[in-house]
């Protein structure tokens, strides 16, 4: 079984390992986005080296949508990845696959287009390209996930925990708004900003960086109750997003999954953490909620 999360600093790697994480995803500056932090290649080199010593797999996030002028930097990144002996590359833009394929690296590639992997046949199409895996959309239900996992030939991965990416824009939406209201606050890169829709209460994290702006759900997915059914369907790879969480909160929530596997009732695990971390608004997300309504 693989437990995957994002790099948040050298100091956290040992703890992640001790709490059952098996794979760390690192995010090179100007090539990745929608991650807790971006890293220089020097930092990535050091982190990969420590991961190796700790027995952790290391992956690289190349998950931006690229323009032709970015492709040279992408090629350089692939050179560095080769030198580092990285275990996986997460991508959104098919350009990454095309460049990786030219090196014979299809099996290193994990396709994560956020919203697009919603049915068995589309997932199988990508797996048939020889990919290492496909990350299923987090907007589909538990039953849909189970059907896909049980039907496809190849590796799938599921997002089980974290604030979910709701949308991303190439626009610097926070800077634009600051200019509109003539405020000189610099909000770029800040990790503690939230949106609240004016008739609701939910707090949706929003982050602006060089890639644009990303907005996250007002809840934290915590699919404790869904873990065992997913495993029963054949799921083996689980991603837990640590973005916006304190390390202790994240590790405790991570422990919850292992407690479920050890036989504790998922409901109890969930309720304990809901009581401990009410601000996280732990939820089962779309696991039991179809989003197929239309305006009549």
């Amino acid at each position: 079984m693989e437990w995957i999360t994002y790099y948040t600093g050298m100091q956290d790697l040992k703890d992640y390992k001790q709490h059952g994480i098996t794979t760390i995803l690192l995010a090179p500056e100007s090539l990745a986005s929608r991650v807790p932090q971006l890293n220089s290649w020097e930092e990535i080199e050091t982190a990969v080296s420590l991961c190796r010593r700790l027995g952790l797999q290391a992956g690289i996030m190349l998950n931006r949508i690229y323009f032709d002028e970015d492709l040279e930097k992408l090629e350089e990144a692939l050179d560095r990845i080769e030198a580092l002996g990285i275990n996986r590359i997460d991508y959104t833009d098919p350009a990454v696959y095309m460049r990786a394929k030219a090196r014979g690296w299809q099996s290193l590639c994990f396709y994560n287009p956020d919203t697009l992997m919603c049915n068995t046949r589309d997932v199988q199409f990508y797996l048939d390209l020889g990919l290492g895996g496909v990350i299923l959309s987090k907007e589909i239900t538990l039953m849909e996930m189970q059907k896909i996992i049980a039907s496809v030939h190849g590796k799938t991965e599921l997002i089980l925990f974290g604030h979910l990416v709701m949308a991303y824009s190439k626009r610097a939406l926070l800077s634009a708004y600051q200019a509109e209201i003539q405020s000189d606050r610099d909000l770029s890169g800040k990790q503690d900003l939230v949106l609240i829709e004016t008739t609701r209460q939910g707090r949706m994290p929003i982050v602006e960086d060089a890639a644009g702006t990303t907005i996250y759900t007002d809840y934290t997915l915590a699919a404790y109750a869904e873990l065992k059914p997913l495993i029963a369907s054949g799921a083996e790879r689980f991603r837990l997003d640590n973005h916006f969480l304190k390390k202790e909160e994240f590790l405790d929530c991570l422990d919850g999954f292992h407690q479920v596997l050890a036989g504790q009732p998922a409901k109890k695990v969930m309720e304990e953490r809901q009581a401990r971390y009410p601000h996280l608004a732990l939820s089962s997300g779309y696991m039991h909620q179809k989003t197929n309504l239309v305006k009549e």
Binding site: I65, Y66, F67, D68, D70, L71, D93, P94, A95, Y97, M98, R99, D114, T115, L116, C118, N119, R121, D122, F125, E139, E144, K147, I148, L164, M166, A167, Y168, S169, K170, R171, A172, L173, L174, A176, Y177, A179, E180, I181, R185, L187, D192, L193, V194, L195, I196, E197, T198, R200, R203, I206, I215, T217, D218, Q289, T291, N292, L293, V294, K295
Partner: protein
């Protein structure tokens, strides 16, 4: 010989498809009852699609059908038969995003071209090559591309390039936005977008509200208006210029399509940048359709605060659509008019049509169905006869400028 650039217009129903074609669209895109986004835009059944194809052929125009939802397993039933039906109906192309839909179309309906939807956020040559291997023949670029990037892609792409030139803009990368899913349980990738991006939001840093109470945060983009760049797009070998708006009115479609038709034909005759006089003229013409305030999207800069709407989202309307010409009696100089909006005898009105450019007249004689002279038309869909001192044709439209 260089292929003529395509003007591609939207249509939400058969009436609007015919309007778009009559007013100069080289192709019209529309959605079927299934497998399409924009679930509220009065989608077409197969009978309507067949009629749209038949009508389009009379005008050497083409029909493209959107099959662009991101399907869940439950959505795929009947896909093969549907694609074969579209081929049999004479549809030229489908617009798709899902690899399953694309590969099924290539296998079972090879007579259909497959155009890759903007939902796939295509922004570089490598991804275009990837989709080429999938059997796609045209790529609709992401709206995030600049003019420079569009030019590069159009000149170097192995596939045809289609790009948006007009209409509403998603503020987020298309296909990757689930604001609507999260806030209304309506899936934007299956036709349910609630445009939650255009709602109002408080912005907080930790617990401190830093947004303006009277001017809350919003992600509402101004609409795209790219007519200034048409000469560059034509020169760059862009294959198709796309107007957004399957939910827009027949009047909107007529106005926008007609104006782009005139502009494109003028540029094809006289290549080169538009003069200040031409820009002023076309700007005025586009303003006659109901639009949100407009911007140039990503074409010349990444949109900033000037390109977003933080206050009112409503349309800016400079003209009212008053009626549709059903017939014209040259001897009596009378048009038969289907009334759409209130107007009075004595008002100065403007007619435009597929072959008629903005001719004005004084509404000095209006006769109702009972043969009585009337002072005011205030019954929508009523048929009246109105004196117009020059020839007009069925399908022409009458409008009135608003006092500003």
């Amino acid at each position: 010989m260089k292929k003529k650039i395509e003007l591609l217009a939207p249509a939400g129903d058969l009436e609007r498809a015919k309007v778009a074609i009559r007013y100069g669209a080289d192709a019209v895109y529309l959605g079927g009852k299934r497998f399409s986004l924009r679930s509220r835009s009065s989608n077409f059944d197969l009978k309507d699609i067949r009629e749209a194809v038949r009508f389009a052929r009379q005008y050497h125009s083409a029909i493209h059908v959107t099959v662009n939802l991101i399907p869940h397993d439950e959505d795929l039933e009947g896909l093969r038969e549907y694609l074969m039906d579209l081929q049999e109906a004479g549809v030229t192309a489908i617009i798709a995003a899902s690899p399953t839909i694309i590969t099924e179309a290539r296998r079972w309906a090879p007579g259909l071209q497959v155009h890759l939807s903007t939902q796939m956020s295509s922004t570089n040559l490598e991804c275009i090559r990837f989709y080429q291997q999938m059997g796609v023949s045209r790529v609709v670029l992401a709206r995030e591309c600049s003019l420079e990037q569009i030019r590069y892609l159009a000149q170097n792409s192995p596939l045809e390039i289609e790009t948006f030139i007009h209409g509403g803009m998603c503020v987020n990368y298309s296909g990757r936005c689930t604001l609507s899913n999260a806030m209304t349980w309506r899936d934007a990738n299956r036709g349910g977008c609630a445009q939650s991006c255009r709602w109002k939001y408080h912005l907080l840093e930790k617990d401190e509200r830093i947004s303006d109470a009277d001017r809350p945060f919003s992600m509402s983009s101004k609409d795209l208006l790219a007519f200034r760049y048409i000469p560059e797009m034509i020169a760059a070998n862009v294959a198709s210029l796309k107007i957004e708006g399957r939910m827009k009115s027949a009047y909107y479609i007529a106005t926008v399509v007609k104006t782009y038709r005139m502009l494109i034909d003028e540029v094809l005759q006289h290549p080169g940048p538009l003069s200040a006089q031409q820009i002023a003229y076309y700007e005025k013409e586009f303003a006659k359709a109901e639009n949100r305030p407009t911007c140039t999207g990503f074409l010349d800069h990444i949109p900033d605060h000037r390109d977003h709407l933080y206050g009112v989202n409503g349309s800016g309307v400079t003209h009212d659509f008053l009626g549709l010409v059903l017939d014209y009696d040259e001897g009596a100089q009378q048009a038969v008019l289907q009334v759409r909006n209130h107007f009075r005898k004595g008002e100065r009105l403007e007619v435009f049509g597929p072959t008629l450019v903005n001719q004005q007249f004084l509404a000095d004689e209006i006769i109702n169905e009972a043969g009585e002279q009337i002072e005011v038309c205030n019954k929508p869909m009523e048929t009246v006869r109105i004196r117009i001192p020059f020839a007009v044709s069925a399908g022409d439209m009458i409008r009135r400028g608003q006092a500003r």
